[in-house]
Amino acid sequence: MLTIERLNKTFAAPSGPVVALSNIRLQVERGQFITFIGPSGCGKSTLLKIVAGLDTAYEGTVELNGKAITGPSIEKGFIFQEPRLFPWLTVEKNIAANLSLRSADVRRRVDELIELVRLKGFEKAYPKELSGGMAQRVAIARALLRKPEILLLDEPFGALDAFTRSHMQEALLDIWQNSRTTMLFVTHDLDEAVFLGEKVVIMNPRPGHIRNVIGIDLPYPRKRTGASFQELRSRVLGEFEKVESPPQTDVGAGI
């Protein structure tokens, strides 16, 4: 379980301190799929980096299973917007990364994951030979090999074309339903947020804060064209149109 209480984050900028996150309150149960959506500058990526332990200069409480997050750890996987593969390693070695393929256990798991992300036949390919979607699937397999309890995804499909993106979304849901990994998924794509998340966290900028949390009570697999999908989509969109109104100072969310 992930608990965030009274989280504040301030950046030092040449023009003075900038409040990136203000009074964030959030609770995520194990196995949930949460999407974060908001315009750029709303602090959603910063929030993800804090949970990952990549950024530890914050105020407030951020705990995973009751333990404060003080740095990166193996139970927190991270998928960046770019695949960030090691260009000198083949697909299978990229997935193994700092683990040795000579270990029978690692070898077996890597083979399973290659099967899972549908990259059979590309084990020995170098990243430069892969398409953007394939490279991102390698990155996902690399994160899953560590069996993370929570997977943090920072606009992972943002650079992909619409067709590949929708395929990747379905693949990710498959993986989630099989592994029951907690997913925190940051996006700026409204459809993506509603299509994937059990809950959509809507964030606003200046200062970055949580505006609202909307539960998406639709069964998977979801139909983008369904009436209820469209209705929820408009509700989320409606939240954005209130952006101009002054931010509430104490809107937190218990999920």
Partner: protein, 292 residues
């Protein structure tokens, strides 16, 4: 109609004549290939040999006709004969062995030091600030200017020769290793933090592979530098080696042997450069403009 169009039409016509095929609306690849063949019948690898062979032929003819002095520019055939004699007598092998030992020893010593120091200053801010400015300053000193100092300190023996070569091959490897290690991708570094790489794995699985293209470039430049300094070192006084062979032949006005020596340097230099290039191709198969 542009010049390009005219050339294209000409090629297509030549192709038609060669293959005897009826004209079709679109030029087929076969026609284009036939046009190319019509322009040049030489195999690709031969192109590079055309100029040197022509020069050699002219040179040989000029010598035979007595147009050039034999003591300044001996005929290629005479140089070839001297080459063969030196081969047969075993002198050449002896000289080459000596030279290769000096160049190899100096290169290994200098290259290894450059690699270690380059990684060291590339990684640590503190090391970079304290060491790098001094090394960069020393780099600008012309190496040949320190030869007298080396002779004063260590005499003209093997030690000062190897040391001179080591110094010359140190700088390129140092400089490029430093650069490569320094410019390792910050985004990939973040990945290694997420995946919990150990310090050792960070070194062997991120920093060194990322710097490898730069390191190999440095190695190639170093190999070149070590042959250059070998020639200098052997001419400042030695009793064996290709440089000595050249110097000795000069004293006795054996111009043909001087040419043989120069030829040897060219061959060995090219060979070692090719070896490093081969290593580059092997090790850097993954690279070409991959951004990720």
């Amino acid at each position: 109609m542009s010049a390009n169009d005219i050339a294209w039409e000409g090629a297509a016509d030549a192709g038609k004549a060669a293959t005897g095929k009826p004209e079709t609306g679109k030029p087929s690849p076969g026609i284009a290939a036939a046009g190319k063949q019509g322009r040049a019948r030489l195999p690709k690898w031969l192109y590079g040999w055309v100029l040197p062979l022509a020069v050699l032929a002219l040179w040989e003819a000029a010598s035979a006709l007595g147009l050039v002095s034999d003591s300044a520019l001996p005929a290629p055939s005479r140089i070839a004969r001297a080459f063969w004699q030196l081969c047969a007598s075993g002198d050449m092998a002896e000289h080459l062995k000596m030279s290769a030992l000096r160049a190899g020893g100096g290169f290994l010593l200098g290259g290894a030091t450059g690699l270690l120091l380059g990684v060291f200053t590339g990684l640590g801010r503190w090391a970079e600030r304290t060491l790098d400015p001094s090394i960069q300053m020393l780099r600008t000193v012309p190496l040949l200017a320190v030869i007298p100092l080396f002779i004063l300190w260590f005499g003209v023996g093997e030690f000062s020769k190897v040391l001179l070569i080591a110094l010359g091959s140190f700088f390129p490897v140092y400089f490029h290793t430093h650069l490569g290690v320094n410019s390792a991708d910050k985004k990939l570094y973040e990945v290694t933090r997420i995946l919990q790489y150990s310090k050792l794995k960070l070194m062997t699985k991120l920093i060194l592979p990322a710097a490898l293209p730069n390191i190999l470039l440095g190695v190639r430049l170093s190999v070149g530098a070590s042959w250059l300094l070998l020639a200098v070192a052997e001419m400042m006084g030695a009793s064996a080696g290709v440089g000595y062979m050249i110097q000795d032949a000069r004293v006795y006005a054996q111009t043909d042997i001087v040419f043989v020596g120069i030829l040897l340097f060219a061959l060995v230099g090219k060979l070692s450069d090719s070896a490093v290039r081969l290593a580059e191709r092997r090790c850097l198969r993954w690279s070409n403009t991959y951004k990720g």
